[in-house]
């Protein structure tokens, strides 16, 4: 199972109380994980990636295994510990607000 952590406000929106676990067929890419996340929690569609352009929302970042994947293409494969379910993909709200 692939592990994903998403920001608090998105967990509330999707009714998620903890880390998300997803079935993703290899290769485990950023795009495949986000597709699986949106398929399991459809209300998250448009909140991590723009509805139309599918671009990452500007104030969100993707991290895994202490690497920044925010600017990586969606077909980028995630590190082995993420594919093995040892480490999570982190979707982080990168800017604090008032």
């Amino acid at each position: 199972m692939i592990r994903v952590e998403i920001p608090y406000h998105l967990r509330v929106l999707a009714g998620i109380t903890a880390e998300v676990q997803l079935d993703v067929e290899p290769p485990v890419t950023i795009g495949a994980v986000l597709d699986a996340l949106e398929a399991k929690y459809p209300t998250l569609r448009g909140t991590v990636r723009d509805h139309i352009t599918q671009e990452r929302r500007a104030f969100l970042r993707y991290y895994a295994c202490e690497q920044d994947f925010s600017l990586a293409p969606l077909e980028t494969q995630l590190p082995e510990p993420v594919a093995m379910g040892v480490e999570p993909l982190l979707v982080i709200a990168a800017v604090a607000g008032g």
């Binding site: 920001p7 608090y8 406000h9 998105l10 509330v12 929106l13 949106e38 398929a39 459809p42 209300t43 569609r45 448009g46 909140t47 991590v48 723009d50 509805h51 139309i52 929302r57 104030f59 969100l60 709200a93 800017v95 607000g97």
Partner: protein, 395 residues
């Protein structure tokens, strides 16, 4: 006995305030959608238990929420796997998706619009400012959005389609944002003519359609703004709010940006006349009309430079003559050291007799006057920054 339900949108979520017809003792519930900005929260006039919320975030985008039980339970319409799955698989749904219509059949090409510095910027959807449920169909709702355009759903919020005739009017490249963004914030229906609607856009002006939204006409003649390079342009006015009494739909009231003030039109916007009269300033955001008196209107003038009450005194001003002659309403409102603002969507009137008037402030207070403005009491004092106030009168 009648009940009133006040729907409050704030910077940190939504709240529902309820009371019986005396409007003395209030129950407060919320926050709903905690942590998200709720720009607008409004119920269907056809089915009062059908509520719609514009839930938005600079981080996470736009979500529309709907309740069918008066706010007990909520869901984003069009977001279930069943609604989104097609024979070709998942996902093909349109949930929460606001896409400008550029199709050849019904759309208009995307243009640019003027930015603050006079350069041209792309038209980009940002959020829904205002939701106006239909007077006749609980599944039909109109949405005013930033960057300015008008959308409509006819399936209860599952899918939204742009009424592109407005954005494609042709003057779009001359529209520019107000300080809050280039938003369509006011939608008024003519109750006697289903083909006629009014909208207002900051900072483009007021527009009217007489053919159900296919075509639109700028209706800004008579308005004045000393900040514009030409004295009487077709568009470019920072209209803050429009209001109308259903008994006289040709009479429209307007709160315009500073340098303008309060205006009225007696011919459905063809010509506007300034009616500031003895108001202390010409700046403010909301304007509303008494439920039972078509010429009794309310405004909340602010210091035009500071956007706070003049002299630190929070005063609603009432005109019983449709403008020009105004009286300050102060009983129960802070008359010293008050520096809050009242935003454009943050005033509403109920349908009881005597008519109740409500408004919310950027300081988190929601005030109610159960007697047409003569006396005010705070329903709540410490909510987040209030964006919008609507009220439902439930028999």
């Amino acid at each position: 006995m009648s009940q009133v339900r006040v729907l409050v949108g704030t910077k940190k979520g939504a709240f529902i305030l309820t009371a019986d017809g005396t409007r003395q003792k209030w129950d407060v519930s919320g926050p709903l959608f905690a942590g998200w900005e709720v720009y607008h929260f409004k119920g269907s006039p056809v089915d009062p238990n059908r509520l719609f919320v514009s839930q938005t975030s600079g981080w996470f985008g736009q979500v529309i929420q709907r309740s069918d039980d008066g706010g007990e339970t909520w869901y984003p319409p069009g977001s279930s796997p069943e609604e989104l799955t097609t024979p070709e698989g998942f996902p093909k749904g349109e949930s929460n998706k606001f896409v400008y219509d550029t199709s050849e059949e019904t759309g208009k090409p995307l243009t640019t619009h003027q930015f603050y510095d006079g350069t041209q910027k792309d038209w980009v959807f940002k959020r829904v400012w205002h939701l106006e449920p239909s007077n006749s169909d609980p599944d039909t709702v109109y949405a005013g959005v930033e960057d300015a355009a008008l959308f409509r759903t006819t399936d209860g919020g599952k899918t939204w389609h742009e009424m592109a005739g407005l954005r494609g009017h042709g003057s779009g490249p001359q529209w520019s944002p107000g300080a809050g963004g280039m938003c369509l914030h006011t939608i008024l229906f003519d109750p006697g003519n289903v083909k006629r609607m009014f909208v207002a856009i900051s900072a483009a002006g007021a527009f009217r359609t007489d053919d159900g939204g296919m075509t639109w006409k700028p209706i800004n003649r008579g308005l004045k703004s000393p900040y514009l390079p030409e004295p009487t342009p077709e568009v470019g006015f920072c209209v803050h709010r429009l209001a109308m009494h259903p008994s006289q739909p040709n009479v429209v009231f307007m709160q315009l940006h500073q340098g303008g003030g309060i205006f009225r039109s007696d011919d459905a916007g063809e010509q506007w006349v300034e009616v500031n009269g003895n108001l202390p300033t010409d700046f403010g955001f909301p304007i509303d009309v008494h439920t039972h008196e078509a010429e009794t209107i309310y405004a909340v003038p602010m210091d035009p430079m500071l956007r706070v009450p003049p002299e630190g005194k929070l005063r609603v001003w009432r005109s019983r003559t449709g403008g020009n002659e105004w009286e300050p309403l102060t009983k129960g409102l802070p008359q010293e050291n008050c520096y809050v603002n009242v935003l454009r969507d943050a005033m509403a009137v109920d349908k009881l007799d005597p008519c109740g008037i409500y408004f919310g402030t950027t300081g988190g207070q929601v005030y109610c006057s159960p007697d047409g403005g003569d006396h005010w009491t705070p329903i709540v004092r410490d909510l987040p920054h209030v964006y919008s106030v609507e009220v439902q009168t439930i028999s």
